[in-house]
Amino acid sequence: MNIEIAEYLRLDDRFPHILCPGCGIGSAMNAMVRAISESSMNKNEICVVSGIGCSSRVPGYIDCDTFHTLHGRAIPSATGIKLARPEMEVIVIAGDGDLLAIGGNHFIHAARRNLDLTVILINNFNYGMTGGQFSPTTPQGKRGTTAPYGSVERDFNVCEMAKVAGAVFVARSTTYHTPHLKGLIKQAMKKKGFAVIEVVSQCPTLYGRLNRMGDAIKMLEYYRDNSITVTQVKEPKDAEGKIVIGVLWETEAPEYSEVYKKVIDIAQKK
């Protein structure tokens, strides 16, 4: 097909994909594929890794090396790949349940090590694949099938946590702001070290329906009307009740495989 990004997709027999109509994961995948395409990377040197969940189905559609691991285990699996083949660009894409519930520990430890991974965290505020249970990002009071009276747990601030754990690049966007998201993914891929992008997404089938948020369009309208770019935030209260998008944190720190090279140097000298 005469489409620019076609070469990065497994168009021949994997599409249409299994995601629901209007699911934000598709838009995030769209932005990711374009980011890859525009970075003019050799697709043979990219590995996209996921766990289990709707979001984790993404790798199956991308025409590069793809690794659909166990629930929660995308990051440690990616760790093995990245260290075995440091020349590869390793991108992790998975859901909030996968990366923060069962996989939360790997997330903070990889950040701490500052391994050169690009992590795209699709936050749809629930466990989509298993049918809409609440997740560690479900805002208090919202419903999931396992929170029929509204969730009583507080939600994680993913971006703050990534930063404190050691990530060198932390950003947020939404599935409404796909051009913006695409740009962030490009930046994250370029960044040496642990880079995280939280994609605020919609699960109209479950979370949206359970919480009476309307269809995908309604949810995107909400994201459109309630987002604020980080540069627009002049004082804390500007951000209240808003989704702050943009690069939230960036710093420089030695990347893990580079530091590890030093160990090799020392060891080989001895």
Binding site: L9, D12, I25, G26, S27, K182, I217, L220
Partner: protein
């Protein structure tokens, strides 16, 4: 393992802008329709997106970028050069 070859429906505007829609992929979510600033698109009776006003298209390709299903593509001869 090549099995299917998605067959897009293509329309070209006088401006040279071209919109391709892969009906097979479109799930009719309406995102492209709703957020098109120029009302170029509409859901048809087939519950898929349709290009109803190609001439109005400004070529910003927002539909293409937001579509969760890789079902709509816009070619804008003017933009092409800038992109890569």
């Amino acid at each position: 393992m090549k099995k299917s070859n998605p067959n897009p429906v293509v329309q070209t505007a006088k401006t040279g802008i071209e919109i391709s829609i892969i009906k097979e992929f479109c799930k009719g979510c309406g995102i492209c329709v709703e957020f098109c600033p120029k009302d170029v698109l509409a859901l048809g009776s087939d519950l898929k997106t349709n290009c109803i006003n190609i001439e109005a298209c400004n070529g910003d390709a927002l539909c293409e970028l937001r579509c969760p299903d890789f079902a709509i593509f816009v070619k804008n001869p003017k933009k092409k050069a800038i992109k890569k």
